[in-house]
């Protein structure tokens, strides 16, 4: 099955911003990413967007489609409709067309120490740590974050505060705090309890709505708040 569709793309060439329309014939099963490639390869080679794995694991191709942040590779054109308004993600500076600057986003992720912290860390002589399937499931779903930035784009707290760590970073912190092998929980809680941390969240929960991997950042955030509250009370008496 084929029919004509309209891609309305918000473009930016480094100086000016404008909307451009592209009409072409799409076939059933064609994804938004394939549509973007078709435009780039056949209609306008200057169109810039990020893409890599085209199977929803690399996190490159998140864009706003009709207002909602989604992975272009996972979104079928016909599921959206005949007119698709495609824009870069919000809350990050636009570099060109659909490409936003994610450096700040990644720096925030780095800021929460998103790695396993263990006192007995021994590079030369690693040993097998035990973790039951139950312990694994306590954090596993939160380890599926692909850092596509969809949650960060949808978050109204990130919209008003550029220093706010945002849903993805705090979810990463939560994922490691819940790992039975980890010993860095207190350290990490100190990092997310500040004025740029968990208390900036207003539970709009849009992050969980738009997450393409169903990671539920809003849930991680709220669990993290509870942990953070306990951590803060404890630190008063220390």
């Amino acid at each position: 099955m084929e029919r004509e569709v309209l891609f309305r793309i918000r473009r930016f060439d480094g100086e000016k911003e404008y909307w451009q329309d592209f009409r072409f014939t799409a076939r059933k099963g064609m994804t938004v990413l394939e549509g973007l490639y078709f435009i780039k390869e056949s209609l306008d080679g200057s169109l810039a967007f990020r893409a890599s794995c085209r199977m929803g694991v690399c996190g490159s191709c998140a864009v706003k489609v009709n207002g909602k942040p989604r992975l272009a590779c996972e979104t079928q054109i016909f599921d959206v409709g005949d007119v698709l308004e495609i824009e870069p993600l919000d809350n990050m500076p636009v570099l060109k067309d659909l490409v936003v600057d994610m450096d700040g986003f990644f720096r925030k992720h780095e800021a929460v120490k998103p790695y396993l912290i263990r006192k007995d860390d021994d590079y030369k002589n690693p040993k097998e740590l035990l973790q039951t399937p139950k312990e694994l499931h306590a954090y596993y779903d939160f380890s599926l974050c692909i850092k596509c930035g969809a949650c960060y784009s949808a978050c109204p707290a990130s919209a008003t505060r550029s220093d706010y760590l945002g849903p993805a970073a705090i979810t990463a912190a939560y994922r490691f705090c819940m790992d039975s092998r980890d010993e860095g929980k207190e350290e990490r809680l100190g990092l997310v309890s500040g004025s740029d941390g968990v208390w900036r969240c207003h539970f709009n929960a849009e992050c969980s709505e738009v997450c393409p991997k169903s990671v539920e950042p809003a849930k991680a955030m709220q669990k993290m708040r509870l942990m953070s509250a306990i951590h803060m009370i404890k630190s008063i008496f220390r």
């Binding site: 080679g45 490159s60 600057d101 450096d103 039951t132 490691f176």
Partner: protein, 570 residues
């Protein structure tokens, strides 16, 4: 035009599994050396995240596995073209890597008692594939990336597109790169360079590879005079989802899935009665293609296909062990594998060949190392076993990182000269960006993909390949006359992709000429006009050297230590 020169002791190109592992190894070996990790995407956007099934490692010698068994599986799987000293070293080193990842937070799937679980895989005669559901590569990359954040001497350069390699007196001295965000040309002056840029997958149209895998590192090294080894061996994975080519992991069959033809028959019984669906990939891919050619495939809107049947595994097992497969099949083919079989056919998947290195990842150029898919160490020979590639990245990434530190200690920088810088600037911004011919580079890519899919697919003949080589050369001429539409600097993906297509054309020629010249069938390289393996004449590695007229071929012997070639049966 600003011309920035950045100095680092070690420059690593590519931040996938091998590149990240090399960076960590170097940083662990010395806190003093400065390490640049350059990649054209953010590290976690690399293609390694697409690895699904697992990583092979001998963890349970008490349960009957052994290093010799893993080595033998690998060598037999390689159709005896693997260097056996490298394989022996490799199998002994992986278990530690698995445990390191465990200690760094990788969410390995577990047994009930909390120990690391392992699953069956094609060509592996023991259940030795360690896995994290069916997202093994994804979790490995994220674990390494997160771990790499701990080392202050690893400096990342995300979204820098490397354009050239500078070599003087057969020693490497740096690379040039375009910072995508600004479009500026940047020079990295280095004592050692590690290539970790992955394979040449996008040569083919029907492929499991990510869009970004365009063989940049291979082509840059090749053009700089470094030989490429065994490039004619391209692996076809049996199960690519139709129509996108998205990988349906071998773990589908490792967990008990069946391949069926139109008559519902498990046809592998006729091709590999012992191993059935879990024979090595070359064997299964050829069997499937034979079924399709002989008319026993299913008919679908995108041509004939084979059914990958998981329905008998049950929803619970599929959800636990193959969640990504279920998700992908639903999203990209509209099929729930719990309910109905998945339509698949063989798909271009892996580049066994690569930059020529010895088992210590050293290339013929001093200070230049290669690790991961970009390198041919060679442990995969003519056909790689499933779950050995992520293992290779971990083991040889580590070796490259450590070797590079040893090499740079006490060495001084050799400067990139002003002339070299100006020449590179002119080449990129005047000659390439300035191209305003009348050929669309993306059309050339499409034609290249079609040529490779048609002339260099699973079954090859000399005649078809000869025609293919001609077509590739024709496309190379066309490429001289391309147009780059986008003339702006910042984030110019038009320029970047046009250059990638140039890289791919060179690599395609190496693959094509190598395959045409090798008059035998071995592993993944199968010729209908020479259907037998010919150890007398062809038990040797191909080396391809760049010349402006096309690749010049040379051959070197295979290292055989304990295992003599025998007939390969499964």
């Amino acid at each position: 035009m600003s011309m920035e020169v950045i100095k680092h002791d070690i420059v690593i190109i590519g931040a996938g599994l091998a590149g990240l592992r090399a960076a960590i190894a170097a940083a662990e070996k010395s806190r003093e050396v400065s390490i640049a990790l350059i990649s054209k995407t953010y590290p976690i956007r690399c293609h390694s995240v697409c690895a699904e099934g697992g990583t092979a490692a001998v963890l349970r010698e008490d349960e009957g596995d052994s290093f010799d068994l893993h080595a033998w599986d690998t060598i037999k799987g390689a159709d005896f073209l693997a260097d056996q000293d490298a394989v022996e070293f490799f199998v002994r080193e992986i278990p530690k890597e698995i445990l390191r990842l465990d200690n760094w937070g990788c969410p390995w799937s577990r047994r009930e008692d909390g120990r690391i679980a392992q699953r069956a895989f094609g060509g592996q005669s023991f259940n030795r594939t360690v896995f994290a559901a069916d997202r093994t590569g994804f979790h490995e990359v994220h674990t390494l990336y997160e771990r790499s954040l701990m080392y202050p001497n690893i400096v990342r350069y995300d979204e820098y597109f490397v354009t050239n390699l500078f070599i003087e007196d057969n020693a490497v001295k740096g690379v040039s790169a375009i910072q995508l965000k600004t479009g500026d040309l940047v020079f990295f002056n280095a004592k050692a360079v590690i290539l970790a840029t992955g394979g040449a997958g996008r040569l083919y149209g029907f492929t499991t590879y990510s869009h970004q895998v365009t063989g940049d590192g291979l082509a840059i090294a090749y053009r700089a005079g470094v030989p490429l080894k065994d490039m004619e061996f391209v692996q076809f994975h049996p199960t690519g989802l139709i129509p996108s080519g998205i990988l349906m992991t071998e773990a589908c069959r490792g967990e008990g899935g069946y391949l069926r033809n139109r008559d519902g028959e498990r046809f592998m019984a006729r091709y590999a009665p012992e191993r059935m669906e879990l024979a090595p990939r070359d064997v299964v891919a050829r069997a499937m293609w034979t079924e399709i050619i002989e008319g026993r495939g299913f008919e679908g809107p995108y041509g004939p296909y084979i059914a990958l049947d998981l329905t008998h595994l049950g929803e619970e097992k599929i959800e636990e062990r193959l969640p990504l497969i279920r998700d992908a099949a639903r999203k990209f083919a509209g099929i729930d594998p719990v309910e109905e079989p998945i339509p698949v056919k063989p798909v271009a998947h892996y580049t066994m060949g690569g930059v020529h290195t010895n088992m210590w990842t050293e290339t013929p150029v001093r200070g230049l190392y290669a690790a991961g898919e970009v390198a041919a160490v060679s442990i995969h020979g003519a056909n790689r076993l499933g779950s050995n590639s992520t293992a290779e990245c971990l083991v040889f990434g580590r070796v490259a990182g450590e070797k590079a530190v040893e090499y740079v200690t006490g060495k001084s920088f050799a400067e990139i000269t002003k002339e070299e810088m100006l020449a590179e600037e002119k080449r990129l911004f005047d000659e390439i960006l300035g191209k305003s011919g009348d050929e669309n580079p993306y059309e050339i890519k499409k034609e290249l993909n079609e040529t490779m899919d048609k002339h260099f697919w699973i079954f090859k003949t000399g005649e078809e390949m000869k025609e293919g080589v001609k077509k590739i050369q024709e496309l190379k001429r066309k490429y001289e006359n391309i147009e780059i539409v986008d003339k702006k600097k910042g984030f110019n993906t038009d320029l970047m992709q046009a250059m990638e297509i140039g890289f791919m054309l060179d690599l395609a020629e190496v693959v094509a000429v190598g395959a045409y010249t090798r008059t035998e069938s071995r592993g993944a390289h199968y010729r209908l006009d020479y259907p037998k393996r010919d150890d007398e004449n062809w038990l040797k590695h191909t080396l391809a050297y760049y010349t402006p007229e096309g690749p010049k071929l040379d051959y070197i012997p295979v290292t055989i230590t304990r295992w003599q070639p025998v007939e390969r049966k499964y």
